[in-house]
């Protein structure tokens, strides 16, 4: 169970879109980090393996661009929605099984968090 799930949490749709945009931008940055790591590994591979590896790097690069594009789109859409328009977000937040992501989004949407200095476990997945 997600510890940070809160009941009846409502947030402006514009804010929700903005929070999603930040998360996509972060995911794109993580792709760039992965791409850089793969680049370092590729130098140590035999020539015959490099072509296949290069294809993987190309996919990561495309994924980063896709996420950056979606982030930009979502950010712009958030500016189009009047701030008075709100929606309940708790059910959607409870569906996020990656604990760190759920925690960050809950905090950003006004649901509070563990305590700002507590270290998050970025890879923790909440199992059902």
């Amino acid at each position: 169970m997600n510890v940070f799930a809160v009941s009846r949490l409502e947030a402006p749709v514009a804010t929700t879109l903005d929070v999603v945009a930040w998360e996509m931008e972060l995911a794109a940055a993580r792709c760039l980090m992965l791409d850089a790591m793969l680049g370092r590994v590729m130098g140590r591979l035999a020539d015959e393996d490099q072509a296949e590896f290069m294809e993987g790097m190309h996919i990561v690069d495309l994924l980063s661009q896709q996420l950056t594009g979606l982030s930009s789109f979502t950010r712009k859409m958030s500016e189009k929605v009047p701030i008075e328009v709100s929606a309940q977000v708790d059910e959607a937040l409870q569906g996020i099984t990656l604990g760190a992501l759920a925690d960050r989004m809950t905090a950003a949407l006004g649901g509070g968090e563990k305590g700002i200095n507590e270290r998050e476990s970025a890879g923790n997945v909440d199992l059902f």
Binding site: D18, W22, E25, L26, A28, R30, T68, S72, A108, I116
Partner: protein, 136 residues
């Protein structure tokens, strides 16, 4: 965009923004010191002696204004500061710029936006025009 490697202190209570900035700046070759509140930031500044700082207006603790005042009081403000924030008013900006921030960037922004702004920030300040209002 490749910029000259520097030590950059980044302070924001929002973990997503903090990690995004850390990844983007580190990939550009900078050394990054992240803080989530004003007390952590003051420690980072004292220990790391950064070349630049990116500071959120609503930083947990003393906020950007309190941080800038303390840095000035302790004569630690020896580097350019980029202020970031959401819904900043001209009064907010003027207040922080008068305390020594060199530039500001309005949230939301992209990873690319911040790299461009940091690149601008690291250039020597023009002597006669230390304050630069951008993107407001």
């Amino acid at each position: 965009m490749k910029t000259t490697a520097s030590r950059i202190a980044v302070a924001d209570t929002d973990r997503t923004v903090l990690e995004l900035l850390q990844i983007r700046l580190e990939l550009s070759g900078h050394r990054v010191y992240v803080s989530r509140d004003s007390a952590e930031l003051m420690e980072a500044v004292k220990n790391a002696r950064p070349n630049a700082m990116i500071l959120d207006y609503n930083l947990q603790g003393a906020g950007a204004k309190g941080v800038m005042e303390e840095l000035r009081r302790k004569s630690l403000l020896t580097f350019p500061v980029l202020l970031m924030g959401r819904n900043l008013t001209p009064e907010n900006l003027q207040e922080i710029m008068q305390l020594g921030a060199r530039s500001c960037i309005v949230k939301p922004f992209s990873g690319q936006d911040i790299l461009e702004r940091v690149s601008w920030l690291m250039r020597p300040a023009p002597a006669a025009r230390p304050v630069h209002y951008l993107n407001v």
